[in-house]
């Protein structure tokens, strides 16, 4: 079997003395969509923030154990290089407000000081916007501000911005929770399409979304990874009592 693209081995995360993630062991393989579920405060967002080392931006935050991206220790990599390989999209769409749609998409290159020719930039913008299923809607207004777009379009612009860097992994932190059902459905469809080229980890509170979109589901509770399995198994016959109680709405 192909080696995992992301591998956590006895991985722990702390905020000061608070033990947030406890001995997480998880293997994420290429071209899979993982849903990370669990009640608020269970550590799911902390886990994905560790994957691109945003966790350490909080004073007093530390980690223990191993977290590897394609066999390389994430916490030994240059964070700037790492973040080029790990794209992230947040709950609220956050296009750079002073930049146009075009500039937003290539912001990663500009901010990293990577020089590109006009043709290369045009190519990256078009490809990324097409991958994010936004090209047809914005191709004639590429130089307008990204903030003029609707919430759903802005979120797809953020996805295009993340994809422009051609990441190994795309992290989605409740990326559809601020969107209406139509925009949500477009992004869910997009996730299905992106799966062929990217590996996606999505934190979601929407269990039906996890069931619809993901191949694998990881259930976190009180900082522990309780169960990680095929999404079908989790939603039809979860092995752990806590997973069952959570997905059937008995706590959380």
């Amino acid at each position: 079997m192909e080696s995992p693209i992301l591998k956590a081995t006895n991985f722990n995360a702390f905020f000061g003395k608070n033990h947030i993630l406890k001995n997480i062991n998880l293997e994420v393989h290429k071209n899979s969509v993982w849903a990370i579920m669990g009640p608020s405060g269970c550590g799911k967002t902390t886990f994905i923030r560790c994957v691109n080392r945003m966790h350490e931006l909080v004073p007093g935050a530390t980690v223990e154990g191993s977290l590897k991206l394609k066999g390389e220790e994430i916490y030994e990599m240059n964070p700037v290089v790492l973040r080029r390989k790990v794209g992230m999209v947040f709950q609220r769409p956050n296009p750079f407000p002073t930049m146009s749609i075009y500039e937003n998409v290539i912001a990663g290159y500009n901010l990293n000081g990577i020089k590109l020719s006009k043709m290369e930039k045009d190519d990256i913008v078009e490809t990324s916007l097409k991958q994010a299923a936004l090209w047809m809607e914005v191709r004639s207004t590429l130089h307008k501000k990204g903030t003029f777009l609707s919430g759903g379009q802005q979120q797809r612009l953020c996805i295009a911005r993340a994809l422009a860097m051609n990441p190994e992994i795309l992290l989605l932190d409740e990326a559809t929770s601020a969107l209406d059902p139509i925009s949500t459905s477009m992004i869910e469809e997009l996730i299905q399409q992106l799966k062929s080229e990217y590996t996606i980890l999505m934190v979601t509170h929407n269990m039906q979304q996890a069931a619809r979109v993901s191949d694998k589901t990881a259930f976190f509770y009180l900082g522990e990874l309780i169960e990680a399995a095929n999404t079908k198994t989790i939603f039809t016959n979860p092995k752990h009592k806590k997973t069952q109680e959570y997905i059937t709405g008995h706590f959380g």
């Binding site: 269990m207 039906q208 069931a211 009180l222 522990e224 939603f235 039809t236 016959n237 979860p238 806590k242 069952q244 109680e245 997905i247 059937t248 709405g249 008995h250 706590f251």
Partner: protein, 237 residues
């Protein structure tokens, strides 16, 4: 692992499921009563009781439609998962099996109405139909109890009980053929009894199907099409 924060509460879906369970048990009791009345009607050649069974069948059908609709509503409105989803899928299938069991009681009641006055009760003893009726009713009652108590051990006991029904059914053709040859004037009632035996054998099958559904929703194990020996053992998948 910390066990705090575990609060068991009854969710709106739990309440819907409890109501559905009660409704299905009510239907089950009605179907069981239909079978018992059909048996009484046959034993006593009581045509009035047989007519009562036929008229009550409409209520069984009404239950079936209501339970189907309730399942559809719950699936649409609550999007159940895991054990809740398995429960609903099981209820849909049990509902169908119960309705068919109700049809069988009605079918036997119709034979009772057509039985001639000079019916030879010796056929009961020869074919062991009453013994079969008792066993079939007991199976339906037992599987209902297993559903009510979510008792998969009890549900598993159903599979072996079916052996008796199979045995009586397998012997029936030869017995009835022999009887008809000796008593040609009793062809019609003898064929009614043979048809009833065939129907009762199917009641056993319905009870087994329902037992399989109870095990499916409680343990997430699929026992369909498995050999009988494996179905009766808890540890076997």
């Amino acid at each position: 692992m910390e066990q705090s924060n575990w609060k068991q509460k009854l969710t709106p879906l739990d309440n819907e499921i409890l109501l559905l369970k009660t409704e299905l048990i009510n239907m089950w009791q009605m179907v069981l009563s239909q079978l018992e009345k059909a048996q009484q009607a046959l034993v006593k050649k009581d045509k009035d009781l047989a007519r009562e069974v036929i008229s009550t069948e409409k209520r069984v059908n009404g239950f079936e439609l209501k339970i189907d609709r309730d399942c559809e509503d719950i699936l649409a409105l609550f999007a159940p998962v895991a054990v809740d989803l398995r429960f609903l899928l099981a209820v849909l299938k049990i509902n169908m099996n119960l309705e068919r069991t109700g049809d069988i009681a009605e079918g036997i009641a119709k034979f009772v109405i057509n039985l001639p006055e000079k019916f030879d009760v010796q056929l009961f003893e020869l074919t062991r139909i009453i013994e079969m009726f008792n066993q079939a009713n007991e199976m339906v009652a037992q599987v209902m109890e297993a559903f009510e108590k979510e008792d998969t051990v009890l549900a598993r006991k159903i599979f072996k009980k079916d052996d008796l029904l199979d045995e009586i059914n397998a012997n029936a053709s030869a017995i009835v053929t022999d009887y008809i040859q000796k008593n040609p004037e009793q062809i019609d009632p003898a064929l009614y009894i043979l048809s009833s035996i065939r129907k009762l054998e199917r009641v056993g099958d319905q009870a087994k199907n329902m037992a399989e559904e109870i095990i499916f929703y409680s343990e997430a194990k699929v026992l369909k099409h498995k050999p009988k020996s494996k179905k009766s053992q808890k540890d076997e998948e």
